[in-house]
C-alpha cells in the first residue's frame, strides 16, 4: 500500500513550492487516476516518489508498505516495488534494450536477496512478454529507446513494468503522444498486469485513457493539492466541463 501524507515539496534550486499538502492512499489492487491542469504538481508527485534529484521534501511523508520511501535511493524504491512509467522515456545509446532489462531485473533481485535469473530463463520470459506488447526482436536488440517512435517508447515502458513486476505502478502521462491504437495496446498491457494486488496511479490529462484503464478512484489535482476525489464519474465531469468549474468551486469553498 502506498500512503502519501501531507506531502510538501519545493524545488531544490529555487524557493518554489510545488506540492502543498498532498494526501493519497492507494490500496492494493486499486487504480487511482490523477487529473489536473498543467503545472498542478502531478508529474512532480511521480518524480518525488521515485526519487529524482532536484526536489526537496519540506513536510509530510510517503511510505510503501510501511517503509519510508524518502529514506531510500531510487534503486531501493524500485526493488521495494515502486515503478514509474516515464512521460519521456530516456534514450540510452550504446546500451542494448535486452541488456538494460536484464540488468534491471537482476539488480532488483539482488537487492531483494533473490537469485538472479539465468540468461535462458530471462530470455524466455522477456520474449513472451514482449510478444504480448507487439515488441519485436529488433526492438529488444536496439539501444534503449534510441530511434523508437512515441508508441514504441511507451510500450517499452510497459514491458519494463511487466518484467519488473512492481507492487505500485505510477504511469506519468503514458497516453501523451499516442494514437488510438497505440493507446489501446498500452492499456491492454497495463490491464494484463492487474492481478487484484498490484495497484496503479494513472496520471493523465484526458478521460480517453481511462476508458481503457478503468479507475476505481479519480483525483483532481490543482496548485499542489488534491482538491477533489471521487469515482470514475469525476473524470467524465472533467471531460465535459473542463477544470474551470472545479477550480472555481475550490476557490469559493
Amino acid at each position: 500500500m502506498l500512503e502519501i501524507k501531507n506531502l510538501h515539496v519545493k524545488l531544490e534550486e529555487e524557493e518554489k513550492q510545488i506540492l502543498k499538502g498532498v494526501n493519497l492512499t492507494v490500496e492494493p489492487g486499486k487504480v487511482h487516476a490523477i487529473m489536473g491542469p498543467n503545472g498542478s504538481g502531478k508529474s512532480t508527485t511521480s518524480y518525488v516518489l521515485s526519487g529524482r534529484d532536484g526536489y526537496e521534501v519540506t513536510k509530510g511523508s510517503a511510505t510503501l508498505n510501511g517503509e519510508d520511501l524518502f529514506d531510500m535511493e531510487p534503486e531501493e524504491r524500485a526493488a521495494a516495488g515502486l515503478f514509474l512509467a516515464f512521460q519521456y522515456p530516456v534514450e540510452i545509446p550504446g546500451v542494448g534494450n535486452m541488456t538494460f532489462l536484464r540488468t534491471a531485473v537482476n539488480s532488483q533481485r539482488k537487492l531483494r536477496g533473490e537469485e538472479e535469473l539465468s540468461a535462458g530463463e530471462f530470455l524466455k520470459i522477456v520474449r513472451e512478454k514482449a510478444k504480448a506488447l507487439k515488441i519485436d526482436a529488433d526492438m529488444l536488440k536496439r539501444p534503449v529507446n534510441v530511434g523508437f517512435s512515441g508508441g514504441e517508447k511507451k510500450r517499452n515502458e510497459i514491458l519494463q513494468m511487466a518484467m519488473l513486476e512492481p507492487k505500485v505502478c505510477i504511469l506519468d502521462e503514458t497516453d501523451s503522444g499516442l494514437d488510438v491504437d497505440a493507446m489501446k495496446l498500452v492499456a491492454e498491457g497495463v490491464n494484463a498486469l492487474r492481478d487484484g494486488t498490484r495497484s496503479f496511479v494513472v496520471i493523465t490529462h484526458y478521460q480517453r485513457l481511462l476508458d481503457h484503464i478503468k479507475p476505481d478512484y479519480v483525483h483532481i489535482m490543482s496548485n499542489g493539492r488534491i482538491i477533489k476525489s471521487g469515482g470514475p464519474e469525476l473524470a467524465l465531469e472533467v471531460e465535459n466541463n473542463g477544470y474551470a468549474d472545479l477550480l472555481a468551486e475550490q476557490e469559493n469553498s
Binding site: S50, G51, R52, D53, E73, P74, E75, R77, A78, A79, F83, L84, F86, P89, V90, E91, I92, P93, G94, V95, T99, F100, T103, A104, V105, S107, Q108, L111, P143, Q160, L164
Partner: protein, 431 residues
C-alpha cells in the same frame, strides 16, 4: 630568443644528448638507413613542450637521457588475448624471448626479428625500413620516430603474401624498473594479403615504438593493441601506414593505466576506394596522460577514413586528442569522419582536443565532432529508477560511451576480449 635561436638550441641539446650513443650494429645498408634517420633527428631536434605539436603533452620524460623508473605491476589476471589462438612473439623489456615465443613461421607469411633482418646482407626490409617514417615527417615533424628508426634494437618484420587466419601477437613484458626499450616493427602486406596483428603489454619503464605498415592493393590489415597495466610506464608510439587501392587498414588501441602515453598515427590513403579506420579507448585514473595524435591524408578518390576516440577520465587524469584529416586536391568523393569524446567521471579530470580538417578537393564529405561531459544524469536516474545501483548504472553508461570505438574491432572474439578487460578495469575500481 628568436624562433631560429630556439630551434638551434633544441638541436644543440639533442646533439649533446645523443653524443656518443652508438647506433645498434647492423649490415651496411641498414646502418646507412639508421644514419639517415639520425641525421633527420639531429636536424629536427627532440621535441620540447614549446613545440606546438607537444603543447599539451610534455615530452621531457620521453626524451631524457635516462628513463624515470617505473614499478613493475604484478597481477594474477591473465594477459589480454590469451583466449585468442595466435602466433606469439615475446619481448621482455625490449629483448626477444625465444623460449616464450612461438616458432616464427606461418602459412602465407614470413616473420623474422628486425635485428636479424637488419643484419642480413640482403633483405626486403632494405626498401622499407624507415621509408614510411621518413615520409611521415612532413608536414609535421615526428622526431621521436626518427630516433626510433636510428636506435631501434629489435622488433618484428612481417611480410604477408596470403590471407593469414591466425593473428600474429607481439607481447611486450615489463620486468625491469629502469628498462628503456626502442622497438621497430615493419609489416608489408602484398596484394590481396590479410593479417591481424595484436600487440599488448607495458613493454618497459619507457617504450619508444614504431610500426610501419604498407598495405598493397586489395590487402587488409587489422591491428588491435592493448597498452596498459603498469601505472608508472611511459610510451611514445607511432604507426605509419600507407594504403593502396581497394584496401583496408584498421587499427584499434585500448589504453588502461600508464602515467604517460603518446600514440601517433600517420596514414596515407594513396589508392582509390580504400578504407582507413583508427579507433581507441582509454581509461585514465589518477596520474595519467593519454595523447592520441592522428594525421590521415587522403590522396586518392572515394576513400573512407574514420577516427573514433573515446576517453574515460577520473581522479585528475588528462586526455589529449589532436586529429587531422587532410584531403588533397583531387581526392574527390572522400568520406572523412572524426569523433573524439571524453567522459569525465569527476571535476578533477580534463580533456584537451584539437580536431582539424584541411580540404582541397571540392566534392567531399567530412565531419568531425569533439565532446566532453559527465555521465548523463537523465540516463542515470532512468537506470536507478529501474533498480540498478549507482555504481552499476555508471559502469553500464561508461561502457555504452565506449561502444562506438569498440565497434571498430572487426573480429568479434577480439572485441569481446577487449570489452571484458574494460569491464574488469571498472570492477577493480569499485568500492
Amino acid at each position: 630568443m628568436t624562433r631560429a635561436q630556439m630551434k638551434q638550441r633544441k638541436c644543440d641539446d639533442t646533439a649533446a644528448r645523443l653524443d656518443g650513443k652508438a647506433l645498434p650494429a647492423s649490415a651496411a645498408w641498414a646502418t646507412d638507413l639508421r644514419q639517415q634517420s639520425l641525421a633527420r633527428l639531429l636536424d629536427m631536434g627532440l621535441p620540447t613542450k614549446r613545440d606546438e605539436y607537444w603543447k599539451w603533452t610534455d615530452p621531457a620524460t620521453l626524451t631524457s637521457a635516462v628513463p624515470t623508473p617505473a614499478e613493475v605491476f604484478n597481477t594474477t589476471e591473465a594477459p589480454i588475448f590469451d583466449v585468442i589462438d595466435r602466433l606469439k612473439i615475446v619481448f621482455v623489456d625490449g629483448v626477444f624471448d625465444a623460449t616464450a615465443s612461438d616458432e616464427l613461421a606461418g602459412e602465407g607469411v614470413e616473420v623474422s626479428l628486425l635485428k636479424d633482418a637488419l643484419n642480413a646482407d640482403i633483405h626486403w626490409a632494405k626498401d622499407s625500413y624507415g621509408v614510411l617514417e621518413a615520409a611521415g615527417q612532413t608536414p609535421v615533424e615526428r622526431p621521436m620516430a626518427a630516433m626510433n628508426t636510428a636506435f631501434a634494437t629489435d622488433g618484428v618484420v612481417i611480410r604477408v603474401t596470403g590471407k593469414v587466419a591466425k593473428p600474429i601477437s607481439i607481447i611486450y613484458t615489463h620486468t625491469n624498473e629502469t628498462s628503456d626499450a626502442i622497438l621497430h616493427n615493419l609489416v608489408k602486406l602484398e596484394e590481396g594479403a590479410e593479417l591481424t596483428l595484436l600487440e599488448n603489454g607495458p613493454a618497459a619503464a619507457r617504450f619508444n615504438k614504431v610500426l610501419e605498415v604498407d598495405v598493397a592493393d586489395g590487402a587488409s590489415f587489422h591491428h588491435v593493441r592493448a597498452q596498459g597495466r603498469d601505472h608508472e610506464r611511459r610510451a611514445a608510439t607511432h604507426i605509419f601506414g600507407r594504403v593502396g587501392a581497394n584496401a583496408l587498414f584498421k587499427s584499434f588501441t585500448m589504453t588502461a593505466n600508464g602515467i604517460l602515453t603518446r600514440n601517433e598515427v600517420v596514414l596515407e590513403l594513396l589508392g582509390d576506394d580504400s578504407q582507413a579506420h583508427v579507433g581507441g579507448v582509454c581509461m585514465g585514473d589518477g596520474a595519467f596522460l593519454h595523447d592520441d595524435t592522428v594525421f590521415i591524408t587522403h590522396d586518392a578518390e572515394r576513400c573512407e577514413s574514420r577516427q573514433v576516440f573515446k576517453k574515460v577520465l577520473r581522479n585528475g587524469a588528462t586526455g589529449v586528442f589532436q586529429g587531422k584529416i587532410l584531403v588533397k586536391d583531387g581526392a574527390q568523393k572522400t568520406d572523412g569522419y572524426q569523433i573524439s569524446q571524453s567522459l569525465l567521471l569527476d571535476n578533477d579530470s580534463q580533456f584537451l582536443a584539437k580536431p582539424e580538417l584541411e580540404i582541397y578537393a571540392d566534392d567531399v564529405v567530412c565531419s568531425h565532432g569533439s565532446t566532453t561531459g559527465a555521465i548523463d544524469e537523465e540516463a542515470l536516474f532512468y537506470l536507478k529508477s529501474r533498480g540498478v545501483g549507482t555504481q552499476e548504472a555508471t559502469d553500464l553508461l561508461t561502457l555504452a560511451f565506449l561502444a562506438e570505438a569498440i565497434d571498430e574491432i572487426a573480429r568479434e572474439d577480439i572485441a569481446a576480449n577487449v570489452l571484458e578487460r574494460l569491464e574488469a578495469w571498472l570492477a577493480r575500481r569499485k568500492g
